[in-house]
Subunit: 602 residues, 2 copies
């Protein structure tokens, strides 16, 4: 009997898999929820997985019948029929996951004066006659410009294709959607136009469907970014994209496919047709932005890391293959720099009313990449910190993403470990906030020194040649122990050091002391779930009174919504991006020293 290392995506769970257990059994043992209706007989084809790396047993008859030869070539398999033959990385199909990932969807809702860039106009026309021979386009344009005082000058070509038959079947009444000087959609019904807002993260994608008449969010949903299979962080995505134009195109393709299914899902939940979506706003970091549009990313791999595109963009949805109203545009907010993107602009936009009246504010969006801005009397200075995926549970022995069974809160009371898991089920591993609590608690208890060294403790043991602190032991759990290893501590030191050194450089460059900071705005899923006290304890965030911190949830998503609902908010976003200057951390004097100091705990 042998063992292989296995890693399950997108939940991020790692573990050992015996060569005589099926991938399904191994997944269940490690707490990865894969649907299994037939009990492992390959009958219902519900436990679909994809082998990303490594070799496995040959496909069985049942799999050969179910999958196309192309799918088999791409590594698609059934978990219950597959056995490992080497270390493997395995992706579980989203439809095969029993527990949807917990994504950050709710957030800081800010009232906004509705003034969507796409206006809806109800028109009633007189039909053509021998004394009124105006064409259909001219007839509509006259009505729009006279009745609604617009300066409409053109029609999207796809609108023109359906317009004439629609007018004739709807007795010359219609609702017309106008964007600037262009008709982008026409409908025979008087139902409101819809908008799609998307926060396209490196790891997660959050989508929102909005009613543009009321400003209400009709549905929201989150999915994993499928590009994860081609690289965990933005640097590895860039590397992959640079290998060939086909690979870059592939990254666009998978994300557009996912956006299309996300859109269908949002529409199904709200019981509306996706053709009613007349505008979309998508925000992401610069790399996500460029890959979505199939723009070059090579220049993001070399100093001085300038983006191909920085200004806001309006792209026809059909030009990237997003299936919404045929004439609709996708608006992309401006980027600030190669590693501070439109998502950060959206976050600053959403939190503007929090920071605008204070003279010194730090706003940060913690993720696989962490963007930090210092807002100093309205001047914005931004940096980008390669915090890595440790807070997403990656590179941590028992780390996992925030899904059922993840320890999200943890306390050390005496020698006892108290914890709380997502879904209140048996613990499977640690998600970001749990890891942060664990390190903070161990540091506060003196179990870890300032330099990260693990000291002796009744729960400390040697395992696989390294020290590890047992949070949950095998007996307690009935499954593998959950521990924090010396290596895990080092990973967190690097991650938190990256964030803290970004903050430190910003303060130094602007000539401020940390105590002067009036507010720290923490955005992003992870940032919203963390115990801020823990983050301050280990020195990830500066030592300020806790009431100066504000956790705002997915502010980037809110920013995208705002840009969907109001032209003024788009102008504000432009202004924010233009006001922001960027500092390249690596080029900052003494950066190595600052970073090294920031890796110390406390």
């Amino acid at each position: 009997m042998g063992y292989y290392e296995v890693e399950f995506e997108p939940v991020g769970r790692r573990g050992k898999c015996r060569d005589d257990e099926s991938v399904l059994d191994c997944a269940h043992r490690l707490g990865v929820g894969i649907v299994s209706l037939c009990g492992g007989r390959g009958k219902f084809h519900c436990c679909k997985i994809q082998i990303i790396k490594g070799s496995v047993s040959k496909p069985t008859k049942s799999e050969i019948e179910f999958f196309s030869s192309e799918e088999l070539k791409d590594g698609y398999r059934l978990a219950c029929q597959t056995y490992l033959k080497s270390n493997c990385k395995i992706k579980v199909s989203l439809e095969s996951l029993t527990t949807p990932q917990r994504l950050q969807l709710e957030g800081l809702e800010i009232g906004v004066k509705l003034n969507p860039p796409v206006k809806s106009c109800d028109i009633k026309l007189s039909p053509p006659s021998m004394v009124d021979l105006r064409s259909d386009d001219e007839r509509i344009m006259d009505e729009l410009n006279h009745q609604f005082n617009l300066s409409c000058r053109k029609f999207d070509i796809d609108v023109l294709k359906n317009m004439s038959s629609l007018l004739r079947s709807s007795r010359w009444e219609a609702r017309v959607f106008v964007r600037d000087d262009e008709v982008v959609s026409i409908s025979s019904k008087h139902s409101s136009g819809l908008g799609l807002a998307v926060d396209l993260g490196t790891t997660k994608i959050a989508g929102y469907l909005l009613d543009l008449d009321s400003g209400k969010t009709l549905s929201s949903s989150g999915v994993m970014n499928p590009q994860i299979s081609y690289g965990e962080d933005i640097v590895s995505r860039i590397t992959y994209a640079m290998e060939s134009p086909a690979k870059k195109k592939k990254l666009q393709e998978v994300v557009v496919n996912t956006l299309n299914s996300l859109t269908s899902d949002l529409c199904r939940r709200a019981n509306v047709e996706k053709e009613r979506i007349v505008e979309a706003v998508i925000v992401g970091n610069t790399v996500m932005h460029h890959l979505l549009l199939d723009l070059p990313v090579d220049q993001l791999a070399v100093s001085p890391f300038v983006p191909a595109v920085q200004n806001s963009l309006d792209v026809k949805s059909r030009d990237i293959g997003l299936n919404i109203a045929p004439g609709a545009y996708i608006h992309l907010l401006p980027n600030i720099a190669g590693f501070v993107g439109a998502d950060h602009v959206a976050m600053l936009l959403a939190t503007e009313r929090i920071w605008k009246d204070d003279d010194l504010v730090i706003a940060l969006d913690i993720g696989t990449n962490t963007e930090v801005s210092l807002i100093d009397n309205g001047d914005i200075t931004s940096v980008s910190c390669a915090s890595g995926p440790a807070f997403e549970g990656a590179h941590i022995k028992d780390g996992m993403r925030a899904t059922n069974g993840a320890i999200e809160r943890l306390q050390l009371i005496g020698d006892e470990v108290k914890y709380q898991t997502i879904g209140k089920v048996s613990p499977v591993g640690l998600c970001g906030s749990g890891i942060l609590d664990a390190i903070a608690q161990l540091y506060l208890a003196g179990v870890i020194s300032r330099d990260g060294k693990m000291n002796d403790h009744p729960r400390m043991r040697f395992h696989n040649n390294q020290k590890e602190f047992v949070l949950v032991n095998e007996k307690e759990n009935g499954s593998p122990a959950i521990t924090i290893t010396q290596k895990d501590v080092r990973e967190i030191q690097l991650a938190k050091g990256a964030i803290r050194s970004g903050i430190d450089v910003l303060l130094r460059e602007r000539g401020h002391f940390e105590q002067e900071v009036k507010k720290v705005i923490i955005a992003g899923a992870f940032g919203s779930y963390i115990n801020v006290a823990s983050a301050v304890s280990i020195g990830m965030l500066p030592p300020l009174p806790l009431n100066r911190f504000q956790q705002v949830g997915n502010a980037a998503g809110i920013g995208a919504k705002l840009a969907l609902l109001s032209t003024e908010e788009r102008f504000k976003a432009e202004a924010i991006a233009h006001r922001a200057s960027y500092i390249e951390l690596a080029a900052s004097p003494d950066f190595e020293k600052i970073f090294l100091r920031a890796t110390y705990l406390g």
Copy 2:
């Protein structure tokens, strides 16, 4: 031995085919030039034809090997291997035609002040550095707006895809093509931008490739409109398109494919790459315009025949599949009415300097559909006349299109017929100008009465139960006789009656007598080749002194060129279209009477 009726497209030659002669032999006997290199042994596959209607012999081994099963299903065959089994309509592949059709490409060249809507700007940028972190788009935009005083605000998405690598490989020097506020193309070379002008006729397509820096025409070429296989005139095209959306789409597809090969041909002749074409202008009648864009034509089939689109349009070339510079636009001039299209506007634009200083001018573009405008002190009134394809040689017993062997000029001197053929070869049939001369000469000699009845004459004979006048007999020719039948006379009476009644209605509506007309501008291929005296003799055109007539060639094509070279010309075209009002002939009082009177000769 039996005979079948055969018609060869696109040359328009009709005749009888024996059941024991191959289609190739029959074509050669009838004077239709099909390439034949192997002498009929099916060896070189050069005599490619397509059976449009009727049934023929089964494919031979040689054909089965050469054609795909799909091509065979679509009726593709080799002329040397095929024998008729019924009356047939056969299309000769363009590459298999030995004599290219003579198309009207030269025309009235008018000097125009160059001010193309697409400007070219040579830029030299400083590369990004740690102190200048501007993105590539921002860097270019700054340069354009400061150095060239432009208000550039956006980039085409396809330009963005190549821009960054181009800048880096060309040492930050480039030529940028800007249209209004948008960058539509970028090139590392400093060669001039090119423009494509197309006159998209119902029967023929004329294309011109222009240098936008010099305004010079680099190459020009003409091809048949492939939609002919789906209907000879606009009404039959509408009927076909209305049968199903797929059929309408098919009409777009075949014409776009032909435009793409026409473009490649133009570029090959000028030895340039088609990616250098940064703008296209396409003019056509309203039906051609709508079918090119896959717009609905149903409303053009019912009174009051209003177009879906009347205003000028700018469509991204990729949105209809035209392969030029990826970010380039196609500009479509405005239409006047359902049956007076952008090609007529282009013709009026090109001839403006001829008509603008006269108080009463008639301008007409004779084709399968004939558009006539009366310009009365700057007011433009237009009609559309269904003149039909008789002047293209169709529906005329020995009619054919203007290609080698067609009689183009004819005189009756005593009992003798003098004629001149295109290419100075043996006569094969009559093209439009030849038919017109023949009818005029016979009328002037009294062989045909005013009402079109044929009288006795030594060259008159009875054949197939109708009277026919022998222009060229079998003996003279060594091939079938060329005659004018009583039915031919009737066809020409209808065609010329349609045109003349249009002129008459216009004059009556505007309260003028024909003698007041100062100029008659005749545009179009046929109109340029005709003997105006003949046209006046039979009463197709009003009886005015011959020096008042001006034959201007393909003025629509010239108009398209002007719109390519100058923004002011586009504004003028808009103004012309807005000034033009349209009269529906069928709804004009007493139209039947006027038409009937106009069918009389003289």
